[in-house]
Symmetry: C2
Subunit: 344 residues, 2 copies
Amino acid sequence: MDVTIYEVAQRAGVSIATVSRALRGTGPVAARTREKVLKAVEELNFTPSRLGVSLAEGRHAANGIVFPDLAGPYYTEVLLGYEEVASELGRSVVILSTKGRTRVNDLVKDLAGRVDGMLIFGHTVPEPLVAELVRLGMRLVFISRDPLTGADTLRSENRASAGELAAHLAGHGYERFAFLGAPMASQDDVDERWQGVRAVLGGAIEAVDTRHYTVECGFEAARDLLKGRGRPEAIICSDDEVALGALLAAEELGLSVPGDLAVTGWDDIMAARHARPALTTVRQPMRELGARAARALDELITRARDLPRHQSLPTELVVRSSCGDHPETSPSPDRRAGDPFRPR
Amino acid sequence: MDVTIYEVAQRAGVSIATVSRALRGTGPVAARTREKVLKAVEELNFTPSRLGVSLAEGRHAANGIVFPDLAGPYYTEVLLGYEEVASELGRSVVILSTKGRTRVNDLVKDLAGRVDGMLIFGHTVPEPLVAELVRLGMRLVFISRDPLTGADTLRSENRASAGELAAHLAGHGYERFAFLGAPMASQDDVDERWQGVRAVLGGAIEAVDTRHYTVECGFEAARDLLKGRGRPEAIICSDDEVALGALLAAEELGLSVPGDLAVTGWDDIMAARHARPALTTVRQPMRELGARAARALDELITRARDLPRHQSLPTELVVRSSCGDHPETSPSPDRRAGDPFRPR
DNA sequence: TGCATGTGTGTAAGCGCTTACAGTCCAAAG
DNA sequence: CTTTGGACTGTAAGCGCTTACACACATGCA
């Protein structure tokens, strides 16, 4: 990337303004002139410098995304949906992981200087900085965050589906429940799930802290819980990874799932389907979240829309075997119609 | 991001050159002057425009990455390692997925205009364009590709570990094998694995085309294979996702793994550990690949090194239960010492 | 006192584009 | 034969920085 518009102009025997117009199709250019320009462009293999274009246009044609960590399928899926749509809209995607980073503020500010708008997960960016970004006019879309003024928010529904899940488990006849997944920040996804199950199960469920949403933490929390007295009959986990940890803990302790214990997850990641027993879980439309975020951002950036919007996407209860036997569809509730692959 | 260096200069009562010097620490600035500048910067909340800086400096402080798809854990893990190190080195990461994209060339060229160097997976970028990028002086690092001049390459070892895996299976006494994972481009990872197992098993193994490296394709290929006559005793899969598909197919057909059939994967993704039976596989250091790519790129960009380098990282055979019983460590070979989590 | 060194600062020339504005030219209308 | 309005094209002013170069002013030392 070395040859500039000047060399093209010189070779074609025209001014740089004409080259620019010929290439972008803004303003009239005689057919013969255009040809000369295109020929020169071809011969020199010219590609306009992105920096020059951006500086002159005053836009980056790029979107940012800030996530805590890409470990685990959730963020990856959202990212995929995001990148795909952003690319369709002619925008590059610049990523930033905050996991284990000091100086998050600086990193986010740097990112802000490279993009026209950004997608931010939950509370990965400190509140004062968010306020500042909003004030500076940066276009923002949040996923899994309570609505705020000056930015879009997007999430998938939690409370009602959590209630539905809880009711399903209650229908199995379980009476002592545990919820694995604290700590929960107010208004965060997991907190909403907790509120949802609690509304249905009331005092029959207790919350257990897992510190992080990982297999390891799920394993440890579940092991301690299951070793103690008053072992629950069903463990509702904040997400699939914690649930996978719980399955491992049960296996370790010689407990049969779902015989001695029911376990459920949330998200419907790939491993949920492959675990044995396969995980009953709540599928949320991860890619769709990313895709919508990209579109929302585009609307805000192009000013096709000015008022922020707050969307909530529906989820789907996916019943598999980890929550108990389902005579009507046994032995593999996720295998109906002979197709082991549920629609995505 | 609105206030420019001019406003800062004016407010501090100095020239923009002084502001720049004060901020970057290049060139002498009197202590009192520096204070005035910093105060003005503070008050105006000034952040230098990335575009201005990049244009003047002639560099982007950003790295690109081109991958086919982020679905599945492999690319994600590499990306994570890459982003982490790139960020440490002060570089942003711009991503580009080629999955399902027409006009890959344009997208890659656009990317090239935004970054100082890029990491490219395998053969996601057409050869002529690669040559052109090299010619233009773009710094490139490839993962899983045969060495070429003018760029670094990086891969993890395949052939020897494939041989080790095959030998292990032969040790179980199996005699009829299948390899699930074609089509294989010459010199690609999967081809090397095939060469490796074949060198050990010779005519006892046949290759089966799966079209794609997905659970779905693995399932279909395995089902067809297992339904046919002369069913193999062991299926060596090109990667874990194909292997997970094979496990599902076996379950579908009522075959016990490892009783009736052994199955192995490659990569050691999360689901491999959680599948039942847990997958015997070959772990490759995915994050490390990404991290090294970022470092290699940095060396090339900063010209700390001029000659391309070709690295190969070691892998590790991870024996679990899907390949057969291992009396000495039964029932869960990956659970020794009471710890269900193998070191990563 | 005179001159070589620094030190501190400003001026201005880029970096590679886009685009408002100001021509130039020519065919059609009067 | 003038006007007039398009169609084209060029000039030049940014966009927001960095930095070479020049200059002004103190020092230190002979």
